[in-house]
């Protein structure tokens, strides 16, 4: 065993000396390789964590949301629809949700306004999300100005700032009393934005959804399952930018592997020829090339993965922020919970380290099996 370890160490010593002779090229290779793995691992960590967090956060979202559609567009829904839904067996609760968007020309941002449940906020008072607080420099006790539907200005006092921990769901929220909401947007008391429906038995959800759609044909039924699947699908590997990033990384790997598999440089072939001439066996040469592949790919892999972890979970995905932010004025400052597991790291390892190492060994094996004299010429 000791002899075996000593042999490996001798070969690693030789491999490292060989790599140091081409210091510039190999340093550049490790830097680019680490960068590719860093991007891939960042995408894997980010998408998995956000999908997992979304599924946990939204598990208590309404079981059914009912929108009214007019000419294919979302319209206010009459509260009288609630009685027709309550008549369906298995329905446990029906509530009207009152929410909408308010465009603030001062900062050029859209806020999501939600009427809080009765008693939570007295008229004239609002609670705002952290994103709005940052954008408007508004804090508890300050007053914000809003333009009503008829052009009259109204001043509402900030009673509360929603916690920073909840930014992922509340950054652009304004909680407002129902009376203020209706006065601001001129919404009649007989209408809500949409309805939420609760069911007694989750297994009857589809049947109840079908009955609602049958009774109220001008409505669109959105199930909780669809809401949850939305966030699973939006960060799917086929989604928009993700596939561009993945394709870029894949292309980089194909170039790496192609460069290695297409053959060795003249210098490398001469090196193998000399080693064979001084008594190295083919297996020794392959072992050396194996370690060469491992030194480069393993170093790059570990560096890339560790940096990706720091990037996603310590710097709040700093490099992805401009992409995620788009043209948005309000952007939540959120720190993802690190939902990572060994399978992600193992999958990355097999996708990156193994193909590179194999691509390094094959041409060396070919060069090592030919006559040293012809290789050196």
């Amino acid at each position: 065993m000791v002899k075996w370890i000593d042999r490996q160490r001798n070969i690693i010593d030789f491999t490292l000396s060989s790599l140091f002779r081409r210091k510039g090229k190999n340093t550049a290779l490790i830097a680019v390789y680490s960068l590719v793995i860093f991007v891939l691992a960042s995408v894997v960590f980010f998408t998995y964590s956000i999908k997992k967090e979304a599924s946990l956060i939204l598990k208590d979202a309404p079981e059914i949301v009912l929108q009214r559609l007019v000419a294919g567009r979302h319209e206010l829904i009459p509260l009288s629809y609630m009685n027709r839904i309550r008549e369906i067996k298995g329905v446990s609760a029906v509530k009207g949700r009152l929410w909408g968007y308010y465009y603030d020309p001062i900062v050029g941002a859209n806020y999501t306004m939600i009427a809080a449940e009765d008693g939570h906020l007295p008229p004239g008072r609002i609670a705002i999300g952290q994103g709005i607080s940052r954008a408007r420099l508004a804090f508890e006790g300050d007053t914000l100005e809003f333009k009503k539907h008829d052009g009259v200005l109204v001043h509402l006092e900030v009673k509360d700032i929603l916690s920073s921990g909840s930014e992922l769901v509340s950054s652009d929220l304004i909680l407002i009393s129902e009376d203020d909401f209706r006065a601001l947007f001129g919404t009649s008391k007989d209408y809500a934005t949409d309805l939420t429906v609760g069911v007694m038995n989750a297994r009857e959800l589809l049947t109840i959804a079908g009955k609602i759609a049958e009774r109220l044909p001008d409505t669109r039924v959105i199930l909780k399952d669809e809401i949850l699947r939305t966030y699973d699908a939006v960060f799917n590997w086929r989604g928009g930018m993700l596939i561009v990033i993945l394709l870029g990384a894949l292309l980089a790997f194909i170039i790496f592997a192609w460069d290695k598999a297409s053959g060795l440089s003249q210098e490398e072939r001469r090196e193998i020829g000399i080693l064979k001439a001084i008594g190295w066996e083919t297996s020794d040469v392959i072992l050396m090339k194996f370690w060469e592949g491992m030194v480069i790919s393993l170093s790059s892999f570990l560096t890339g993965v560790l940096l990706a972890y720091v990037h996603i979970f310590f710097t709040s995905s700093m490099l992805f922020e401009p992409v995620l932010k788009g043209w948005a004025v309000l952007y939540p400052h959120f720190k993802l919970i690190p939902f990572i597991d060994a399978s992600q790291v193992v999958a990355l390892f097999f996708l990156t380290v193994v193909p590179y190492t194999v691509a390094t060994i094959i041409p060396s094996w070919r060069a090592a099996t030919v006559d040293p004299d012809s290789v050196m010429r």
Binding site: R9, I12, D13, L16, F20, A54, L56, I57, L58, D60, A61, Q67, G72, R73, R97, A109, N110, T112, E117, G131, G165, S166, E167, L168, V169, S170, S171, D172, L173, L175, D194, T196, R220, I222, E226, R229, T230, A233, V234, R238, G239, G240, M241, L242, L298, S299, L302, V305, L306, Y309, V323, L324, G326, W327, A328, V329, L330, I337, P338, A342
Partner: protein, 102 residues
């Protein structure tokens, strides 16, 4: 010191860091459980349906609530132009509906 020793020390250090990455992740998940519960409670109380990720357009702010027309709200030929629209896929309910014609 031999070069192989330096390399193996470097490798061991990285493997230890990788191990600590998982330890940190596990610790952080427990530490963030309270914040997660806070968000879940807010979703339940306010009956929220979406994450506040992309606030630039109504159909990216409330992805699951978007109707079929929203990306074209400016005019029938106004194609989707918000950056986040290229980042995310349309909700499954909409893709399913268009599945037959796509």
């Amino acid at each position: 010191m031999r070069r192989s020793s330096l390399f193996l020390i470097y490798l061991a250090l990285n493997v230890v860091l990788l191990f600590f990455m998982f330890v940190h992740a596990s610790y952080q998940r427990e530490a963030d459980a309270r914040i997660l519960a806070e968000k879940t409670e807010m979703v339940k109380r306010l009956q929220l349906t979406d994450l506040c990720l992309f606030t630039e357009a109504s159909y990216t702010r409330h992805l699951s609530m978007a109707d079929l027309h929203t990306p074209f709200q400016d005019s029938p030929m106004s194609l989707e132009h918000f950056p986040s629209g290229s980042l995310v896929m349309p909700p499954e309910s909409i893709r399913k509906m268009n599945g037959k014609v796509d």
